[in-house]
Every structure is written in C-alpha cells, then in structure tokens.
Symmetry: C2
C-alpha cells in the first residue's frame, strides 16, 4: 500500500499508488477551484491523511494543473460509502461546495485490469 | 462530448469531461516523467487530438504536478483496444518507455456511477 507520501514541508505527494491485483475500486474526483487558498491546502492534506486511515483504503494519486484530478483507490464500494460519510469529510464536502470548488465531478469505478511500466 | 479544449497557444486544456450517463469506461494513466521535454509536449498534444477522433471516445481530463494523471473516457472496451492499437499511438507508447516516462501505471475501469456539482 502506498498511502500518500509526504515531502519535507509535510505536504502530500502521492506518486503512483501501489494497488493490489484487480478488481478493486477507484473514485475519480475532477475539480475546478475558486480563486485563493481559503484553507483549501490544509483541508486537502487533512483529507488525504484521514482517508489513508479508513478501512479498505488502498492509495491515492493527485495532481492539479488548473483542473485538479484526485484518484483514490478502495477495496469495496462499502469502504467508499463509509469514507463519504466520515464526519470530517462531510464537513469538507459542504465547505467544498460553498467555498473551494466552482465545479467538480465524482466518478465511482470498478478497476477491471491494470498494467504498468518501470524503467 | 467535451473532446479536449485548446487554449490560445493551441495547447490542450481538458477541464472536466462532459461524459454521458454511466456505464462507460475510464482509462486512468498515472505517470512519472524523465527530465526534459524531448518532444513530450508535442506528442501529448497530438495524442489528445488523435484520441478525440477515435470511435467511442467520450472525453479526457489531464493534470501534471510532478506526477501526471490523464483519464480518458470511452464507450466500450473495444474502443479502448482500438485506440491502444492505433499506429501513431503505438509509436508514442514505444517512445514513452524508452524516452519520456520513468514509470507509469494504466488502469482500465468501468464507471458505474457519477455525480457532479456546479456553483
């Protein structure tokens, strides 16, 4: 499991998640931010640390370049449902709609196959 | 369909893809680059334009922040297979392993459910 690495500033760096053999689940969260930080960075770091402690969490990958894409990986749909209902996460979701995001889309996916390359 | 937008420099900007009602497929491509451009930017732009012309293509989202994440969306597994076998794409895949990427992982997923927010 590669549950989110942290750099020297304590910021999350996800790299490529070390997930097990499929099948497993992925949640693709694609978003566009409102201007300014307004506590967003701290919340994002907290959510990665909190997700990593959830039962069934397998890893997370994240990048922002205008559009932000965060993909979290999970053992089961039930694990995803539990994370969605986590109390701190519910607060972040509410704040996300009122402050941080102008637009987002969440996609719940079954990972059927994967393959990789390493030089 | 949101098949890849282009900014004033002609570079691709993906934003959030406008996909249809699930089920459909997603290909999550997570990568780490080697140093230097070495033709990578041009190839990446060409691949987005070419993918957008493929039968069954639904959209693409992309961001790089150290780690790069590109998610392309497709109607069927057959459409994904055809794109993987596209002649120019095969050349790019080969060049990817020998020049551009130090590491990548590709995950083929069935999108079962999605929901969104717009302020």
């Amino acid at each position: 499991m590669d549950a989110g690495r942290f750099d020297e500033r304590g910021m999350t760096m996800s790299g490529i998640a070390g997930t097990p053999e499929p099948p497993y689940y992925a949640v693709i969260f694609t978003s566009e931010r409102t201007p300014g930080d307004l506590g967003y960075g701290d919340m994002a770091d907290e959510m990665v640390k909190l997700a990593a402690q959830q039962p069934g969490f397998l890893g997370v990958e994240s990048a922002r370049e205008g559009t932000g894409i965060t993909v979290s990986y999970w053992e089961t749909l039930e694990a995803i449902r539990q994370w969605k209902q986590n109390e701190r996460h519910l607060m972040a979701q509410k704040e996300g709609q009122s402050v941080w995001y102008s637009r987002y889309k969440t996609r719940i996916c079954l990972v059927e196959r994967d393959y990789g390359f390493e030089a």
